[in-house]
């Protein structure tokens, strides 16, 4: 299996002008995705999942704020050529390539944006960087990386019927197809995302779709560009349980058929674990655990971040719900993301932070430590 994408040390800070303080949205986030695999991303609401995805797409609203890190991606061969050309116009740096096929899509970021952590100062020209970056991202978005947005209205045009939007995108990526084939394909896609009476949906406008329907239309649109990497941000929230499993099945089929790699973001670790090969657990803007599904989901034995443990056990089983068992709550709240992280972010809610270990937890934010091959945990309990 070959590496498709690798994100290193992503940092995203927003600036709150009223408070004159930074909001730490994402810090120290990194992972790698191999071709043909599924990376599941889970974590509490507000932990930075969407921000991570948007930065990979180059769609983050820049001002005011900071973005920093490296994002290596392997585009299709023809696009690689195009990107190489536009990169060569700028100053080419050795560390913007990896293995000659992966490009750093955050190319040149360090030269335009830099900042000191203590005290916070930024020197930047992110406008200029964004303009450059956009030129590269034009080759990337759609064909190479495509994203299903959490909020479906964001990607649907309210003034063009669903059919029009679909056929237009299909046309862009299949120049040879005739209009009959395109229409057939559009209907087939709508049916495959389990929309009832797709012929009628084709003629409807975004405003007259229910939320769940709109969500599935955006999935269909994202799929018709045949991306190499599909980032799906909460694609199943609007669906009922039957359709969720159908949708997961569909994604599985598409992965083999279209050679798709998937980054699946969801708050529901149970859904993620049915399909993901690797799971990334985020908490308060940072990665607290990453590893193969079997390690991360294993409930009893084996090392596990206390947050992951709480997350897994807070999902009630079907029989618990049927018996009307009360739901488990993880007590406490996430730390304020305007304060500097000078202790373990999970400290306040962690049942294990006691005695001697607690002193460590309070002293500094732990590093991500390796506990097994390809299994990393950010917790002092697992320091060797």
């Amino acid at each position: 299996m070959s590496l498709l994408a690798e994100l290193n040390d992503l940092k995203v800070y927003f600036y709150d002008q009223r408070d004159k303080r930074f909001i730490r949205a994402v810090e120290n986030v990194g992972f790698s995705i191999n071709e043909g695999t599924v990376l599941g991303v889970v974590g509490e609401s507000g932990c930075g999942k969407t921000v991570t995805a948007l930065s990979m797409m180059g769609l983050l609203e820049s001002e005011p704020g900071i973005i920093d890190g490296q994002f290596f991606f392997k585009p299709s061969e023809e696009d690689a050529e195009l990107i190489k050309q536009s990169l060569s116009r700028g100053v080419r740096k050795q560390n913007d390539y990896k293995k000659d096929t992966l490009f750093n899509l955050f190319f040149g970021l360090d030269r335009y944006v830099s900042f000191e952590e203590n005290p916070f100062t930024i020197i930047k020209d992110s406008e200029k960087w964004l303009r450059r970056n956009n030129r590269i991202m034009e080759h990337i978005r759609g064909k190479n990386i495509s994203m299903i947005f959490q909020n479906p209205e964001q990607s649907l045009n309210p003034f063009i019927p669903v059919g029009g939007q679909l056929t237009r995108t299909i046309k862009r990526f299949n120049r040879e197809a005739n209009s009959y084939e395109i229409k057939e394909k559009a209907i087939k896609l709508l049916r495959s995302v389990r929309l009832y009476r797709p012929e009628i949906v084709m003629s409807m406008y975004a405003g007259s779709l229910s939320i769940g329907m709109a969500q599935r239309v955006t999935i269909a649109i994202a799929l018709c560009s045949h991306p190499r990497l599909l980032i799906a941000d909460e694609p199943t929230t609007g669906l009922d349980t039957t359709n969720i499993y159908k949708m997961i099945e569909l994604l599985e089929v598409l992965m083999t058929e279209m050679n798709l790699t998937l980054m699946l973001i969801s708050h529901n670790i149970r859904i993620v674990s049915t399909i993901a090969s690797n799971i990334l657990v985020m908490y308060a803007g940072t990665v607290v655990e990453i590893g193969s599904k079997n390690y991360v989901m294993k409930t009893k034995k084996g090392p596990k971040h206390p947050y992951t443990e709480a997350l897994v056990s807070s999902v009630p089983s079907d029989s618990d719900i049927k018996r009307g068992k009360k739901l488990r709550v993880i007590p406490g709240t996430v730390p304020n993301n305007k304060r500097k992280m000078d202790c373990c972010p999970f400290l306040e809610r962690c049942p294990y932070a006691e005695g001697k270990i607690r002193q460590k937890c309070e002293s500094a934010c732990p590093e991500l430590a390796r506990v097994a091959s390809q299994h990393y945990i950010r917790c002092y309990l697992f320091y060797s």
């Binding site: 909001i23 959490q150 209205e153 349980t241 807070s314 709550v329």
Partner: protein, 307 residues
């Protein structure tokens, strides 16, 4: 028991531009919600749940049918007379992002709704807003953020706070949990139960997940393509579901099949396993079964409900 909200025979059809096809979003919906109780409304995506909610609030007009709120016939009143009543019914919107102005700050959004129906002084107002934020488990620091910059789940919780700040007698919660992770879901469920107990609020709880609906409803209505196909008290629908669709919802992993039939007959016939097992009885494809009462308070719309 006093009934707070009641609908009788609501119909809402949407017509395609050319008028060839109709979408039956509500097809003869009759519901009633007693004071201090919760009615859960479940059904697959696109079956008309939000449409029912919006008709109840009179955000859209039904084709026919009536809505009663505390004895007032809302469908006969005009907006001027409804406005003073609006305080009493509020909706937690499914798409919170489109119901807020993204350029507004969280504090101002909550302030606006708190002041809508009460005149608190500056300090009390601030305390009330802080209290609301802590109830939905958001940092009060977040009050200075623009609504457009909040994450999906944060905005949803802000919307819940907005609705709670008005202290309505009736709340429509349209998929309030769909963007939240399990732990926060539990907190919101507990919060809604708490508010219901304190203020004797009536709730219409809309969700596509029967398992979640079950946690806080007293009665559950199951909807399929615009029709109510089963209605029963919570314990009954858990232990003794009658309609094939309800049974399927309890056991969703079994993959369902899909046969294309004509539009006539039972709404569920295209995916119904009972129909399949019975060897496609004619009656199912000819006649929509009526919603009949099989035992006290337990209604189902299926020709073979008792088998």
């Amino acid at each position: 028991m006093d009934t707070v909200v009641e609908t009788q025979g609501l119909y809402k059809y949407f017509y395609n531009k050319k008028g060839h096809t109709v979408i039956k979003a509500c097809d003869d919906i009759s519901l009633s919600i007693p004071k201090g109780k919760t009615l859960g409304l479940v059904g697959e995506s696109g079956c008309g749940k939000t449409t029912v909610g919006r008709i109840l609030l009179r955000l859209i007009e039904p084709d026919s049918g009536t809505v009663f709120f505390n004895g007032h016939n809302l469908t006969e009143m005009n907006e001027k007379h409804i406005r003073p009543l609006r305080k009493n019914f509020q909706m937690i919107f499914q798409d919170s992002s489109s119901s807020f102005n993204p350029r507004m700050r969280a504090y101002d959004a909550l302030k606006e709704s708190v002041q809508l129906y009460s005149d608190l002084r500056a300090k009390e107002l601030r305390d009330e807003i802080y209290h609301l934020m802590s109830r939905v488990n958001l940092h009060k620091e977040m009050l200075s953020h623009f609504l457009g910059s909040l994450s999906g789940g944060e905005l949803k919780r802000l919307d819940i706070a907005r609705v709670l700040s008005i202290h309505p007698a009736f709340i429509i919660a349209d998929e309030p949990l769909s963007l939240l992770d399990m732990s926060i879901q539990s907190q919101i469920v507990n919060l809604l139960l708490e508010v219901q107990k304190e203020e004797n609020t009536s709730l219409l709880f809309i969700s596509h997940d029967l398992r979640i609906v079950r946690m806080l409803s007293h009665t559950v209505a199951v909807m399929y393509r615009g029709k109510i196909v089963e209605l029963a008290p919570k314990s009954v629908i858990t232990e003794n579901p009658l309609h094939p669709y309800t049974k399927h919802l309890w056991n969703p992993k079994i993959s369902d099949f899909y046969v294309q039939f004509f539009e006539s007959g039972c709404v569920y016939k295209n995916s119904c396993r009972v129909l399949h097992r019975k060897g496609f009885p004619l009656i199912c494809s000819e006649k929509q079964p009526e919603l009949l009462e099989y035992e006290k308070g337990h209604y189902a719309a299926c020709h073979f409900a008792q088998e």
